[in-house]
């Protein structure tokens, strides 16, 4: 290990000596961040296996982009890409291919970035059943720096584009041999059902490279992974090496609880954890700025649609009216959550981008209104009994159980409050907090009456926004035998048979943004009317940003703050050198 490092260092020195362009010293600053990385031996440097830098147990979906970069960075505010590795990108004229030209640059060992890197990456990804290959039929290097992604018959569209632009390209120098084997298998006509395919997948998973070649300005070795923090070192050969202002990125290990004192003490300057309101207050009191950034999801109240009376539309609508969502948001995550406004199935901030104006106008906002809720309950055949509880024609109360994950403070808070409000309104709900894995399992199995999970998501495409929970935790998105919410996706609506599942899958296809918006609007209106789940709120993280250590965060309300972590504002500003040590 040591020897290899030495060689790399030597190489770097030589490179510095021979290439005056790269002759520069590492910047001085240290960027103190945090990520709950795993320790070796679990932690390794294979980009394609669980436990590696790209895994959530590795360095996670923000910092990994500083090491091995994707083609682009997505602006949620303008729905456009900015190039990271890519110099130019786009569909060809007939939309059969996606063509990317890679910037002129090198890996950390000095070997140039080439189109072959992308080909190698996708060859291995194919063996690993990457979702990208649902849309592609081939990936071809046209010349040294141009790579073409050839769509299959149904693949062309913005969904595929996002996958391509966000995939982090691995170095051919490390993975060429494995990619060759993969290519050979494909050429031989093997499929994922063949034993050779599985064997190769296993071989890929077990591969342990000694060095992590970086296209980004930082890299690390296993020796850099300490017990309490790990260090990403600046390397001189990246496209961004000249612009970043930090010589080291220090990632403190730990989750919310163990990082809190470090933030308070100024050991961590920027954190992406979700800190509870009392802690946020402590940060503010300590003079630490909080930057509000959406996490891209919120808490949704889920119903099991086999359960009476949640199979009645009016009851679900009444529930939507009966919950004060602003209050609910406060108890979900303090000021780090806002009550859902549009009830459209996509994030409020995305409504104007994703839906057509007509549909937006028609959306029912379900403003808090217990009288309207009571009317709906009466329409559904319920009356209030002496205790003010709703009873149906047979005199039965709505006595149900609400399962919530005990470990998730935000979801548990949302649930506790929703139950309190609904009981106030006249329901008879018992809250049961159980371990989160059990909650997920119960929801999957349909073994619940009311529960909570996330809606929307960290993907800007409408189809992905609609995906959860209506597809994810419904029979259509689950394995055989699991029914989840069991909300019927094929039904008659306004005199027309529709397949909601197909509608959602189709929302983001093709290239006509207006048509997409209209399709999305239609889905939004259906969800808005039927209320198969109630999107209670949208959660944001109040990211502590310590301005005595770092500088360069834009003023509050900057459009860059619209994107969740995958397209985080920090990525762009860090790479461009805007975020820099305070006082420099």
């Amino acid at each position: 290990m040591k020897r290899i490092l030495l060689i790399v260092a030597l190489f770097a020195l030589v490179a510095v000596g021979f290439a005056p362009a790269a002759a520069q010293d590492a910047p001085d600053g240290i960027f103190p961040g945090t990520w709950p990385y795993s320790l070796p031996p679990t932690h390794h440097l294979n980009l394609f296996a669980a436990g590696g830098p790209h895994d959530s147990t590795g360095i996670g979906n923000f910092y990994r982009q500083l090491v091995v970069m994707p083609f682009g960075f997505y602006r949620w505010d303008s729905a456009t890409y900015e190039g990271l590795l890519a110099e130019s990108w786009g569909f060809n004229e007939d939309n059969t291919k996606y063509v990317v030209t890679i910037k002129e640059g090198t890996w950390s060992d000095g070997t140039p970035l080439t189109a072959n890197d992308a080909v190698v990456t996708y060859a291995i990804g194919r063996i690993l059943n990457w979702a990208d290959w649902n849309y592609l039929s081939d990936v071809v290097a046209v010349d040294d720096r141009t790579v073409e992604f050839i769509f299959n018959e149904t693949g062309a569209g913005y969904t595929a584009e996002r996958l391509i632009m966000k995939t982090r390209i691995a170095p051919a120098a490390t993975y060429q041999a494995l990619a060759d084997e993969a290519t050979a298998l494909i050429a031989a006509g093997k499929t994922s059902d063949d034993q050779e395919w599985t064997d190769l997948a296993t071989k890929i998973a077990e591969f342990r490279p000694d060095v992590l070649l970086a296209s980004g300005p930082y890299t690390y070795s296993l020796e850099d992974i300490g017990d309490s923090y790990m260090t990403l070192h600046w390397q001189p050969n990246s496209i961004y090496s000249g612009s970043v202002q930090f010589g080291e990125i220090r990632l403190w290990q730990g989750e919310t609880e163990s990082t809190t004192p470090l933030v308070l003490n100024g050991d961590i300057a920027w954190a992406t954890n979700v800190y509870p309101p009392a802690t946020q207050q402590a940060f503010v009191d300590a003079g630490i700025r909080l930057v509000n950034v959406p996490l891209g999801y919120g808490a949704a109240l889920l119903m099991q649609h086999d359960t009476y009376p949640f199979n009645i539309k009016e009851v679900r609508q009444a529930m939507a009216y009966a919950i004060d969502r602003d209050e609910n948001a406060f108890f979900t995550n303090g000021f780090g959550a806002t009550g859902t406004e549009y009830m459209a199935g996509v994030l409020d901030t995305m409504v104007s981008t994703l839906l057509d104006a007509d549909s937006i106008a028609k959306l029912n906002h379900y403003d808090f209104d217990v009288d309207r809720a009571a009317e709906l309950m009466e329409t559904a055949g319920f009356t209030r009994d002496a205790d003010g509880k709703w009873v149906d024609a047979e005199g039965k109360r709505i006595s149900v159980e609400y399962k919530a994950p005990a470990e998730f403070a935000d979801f548990l808070g949302a649930s506790t409050n929703a139950v309190e409000q609904l009981n106030e309104f006249g329901f008879d709900i018992t809250l049961r907090a159980i371990p989160w894995q059990q909650t997920a399992e119960d929801i999957r199995q349909g073994n619940f009456q009311l529960s909570v999970w996330s809606w929307a998501g960290g993907n800007p495409l409408a189809s992905r926004q609609f995906f959860g929970p209506i597809q994810r935790f419904n029979y259509v998105g689950l394995s055989d035998g699991q029914k989840g919410m069991n909300f019927p996706m094929e039904f008659e609506y306004n005199g027309e048979m529709i397949n909601l599942d197909a509608l959602i899958n189709d929302v983001s296809s093709g290239f006509d943004r207006d048509a997409q918006a209209q399709r999305a609007g239609r889905v939004a209106l259906i969800l808005n009317d039927l209320m198969p789940f109630i999107p209670l709120n949208i959660i944001s993280a109040a990211q502590p940003f310590n301005e005595s250590i770092l500088t360069g965060a834009p003023a509050d309300g900057d459009p860059l703050y619209a994107a969740p972590l995958d397209d985080a504002w920090m990525l762009k500003l860090l790479l461009e050198g805007v975020v820099r040590p305070a006082g420099s």
């Binding site: 147990t57 690993l128 969904t159 260090t231 059990q438 399992e441 960290g458």
Partner: protein, 343 residues
């Protein structure tokens, strides 16, 4: 042969092996009853993050993980057992190339060091103070220490830990929290050097201090009550009448006899060395086995969990045997496991 079977050592070893097997089997099936499995957790991640369908994610996870959720549990058990008799703990389910044994070797020493040190400090301090409390019963020391011990004993260790960090670390700035986190400072070469050992002690300070605070009250109170009943024994009065100096009286007569009932507790505590440290290690970012266990439980890494549980079971059994030996050394009446002295 018959003599061997009847021998105390042989019986102890066999009993220990049976206990280890029983605990291993129990935990094996127990952890497979946990909701979710390693594959499902990864599948959820892929579905959420990469927009794969459930089936697609399932397929990809199957290629990444050594784990087939559809294999009958009993078959898994037989496989595991047959590996185990060859001293093979298997590989981590969530990091396929990582042998469980390697993980345990990496993390166990830290836990042994920190919790062992804490146990040593808490036990010896607690026993000394408890002895003094009983000896000067009703005095100032006794009263102050009883209050201290009872209060501290009642506060869960993780709250002690949090208070330690928040009050002493953040508010009063007495402790440089970040500097003390972790197991050792990066860059200091491991070895038998003063610098490295001091560094180890420095980093172990927070967890050790917490463990000591959390357990010393129990030792003090137990030792005190044990000493009080020993002080009432005739041989103490007799020894005093023989004109023995107080120091000899306190050590060989009172202390040694009063400590006997504590030995069982000590054995049990040693067994908890590994398991009891989970939350504290997580809070202090200490690279021990407990923190690794929490991670493994979160990821449902069955083989890793299984390996750690096995280590815990073995450590309990071994510490019980050690405690027996120690007990025998301290109390001649139970030497060789027999009560033969009483007539």
């Amino acid at each position: 042969m018959r003599k061997l079977i009847r021998s105390y050592t042989f019986r102890t070893v066999v009993q220990g092996l049976i206990t280890i097997w029983a605990v291993m089997t129990f935990t094996f099936f127990l952890i497979r009853l946990m909701p979710g499995n390693p594959a499902q957790i990864k599948i959820d991640e892929y579905v959420d993050r990469y927009g794969m369908s459930e089936d697609q994610a399932r397929q990809q996870v199957a290629t990444l993980f050594n784990y087939d959720p559809d294999q009958p549990v009993f078959e898994q058990y037989v496989d595991y057992l047959s590996d185990l008799v060859r001293f093979d703990l298997g590989r981590s389910l969530t990091s396929t190339e990582t042998p469980v044994a390697e993980q345990i070797l990496r993390f166990l020493p830290w836990t042994l060091f920190s919790v062992g040190l804490a146990l040593l400090v808490a036990f010896s301090l607690g026993v000394l103070v408890g002895l003094a409390m009983a000896y000067w019963r009703g005095g100032l020391l006794d009263n102050v220490m009883t209050v201290f011990a009872s209060v501290i004993y009642a506060i869960p260790d993780y709250i002690i830990a949090l208070l330690l960090i928040m009050v002493a670390g953040v508010q009063l700035k007495l402790i440089p929290v970040g500097e003390l986190y972790g197991g050792s400072t990066q860059g200091i070469e491991p070895g038998f050097t003063v610098e490295y050992i001091l560094d180890l002690l420095k980093h172990a300070f927070l967890p050790v201090f917490t463990y000591v605070l959390a357990t010393i009250g129990g030792w003090m109170l137990t030792m005190k009550s044990s000493t009080i009943s020993t002080l009432g024994e005739d041989y103490i009065t007799v020894a005093r009448a023989r004109g023995l100096p107080e120091r000899r009286l306190l050590t060989a007569y009172v202390g040694r006899n009063a400590m006997l009932p504590l030995m069982t507790r000590l054995a049990i505590s040693i067994g908890f060395v590994v398991g009891g440290s989970a939350i504290i290690e997580t809070l202090f970012l200490y690279p021990g086995l407990g923190r690794n266990l929490v991670l493994a439980i979160g990821l449902r890494d069955y083989t890793t969990m299984q390996g750690i549980f096995l280590v815990i079971a073995i450590s309990v059994v071994v510490s019980n045997i050690l405690a027996d030996l120690l007990y025998g050394w301290l109390d001649p009446r139970v030497r060789l496991g027999g009560d033969k002295g009483t007539e």
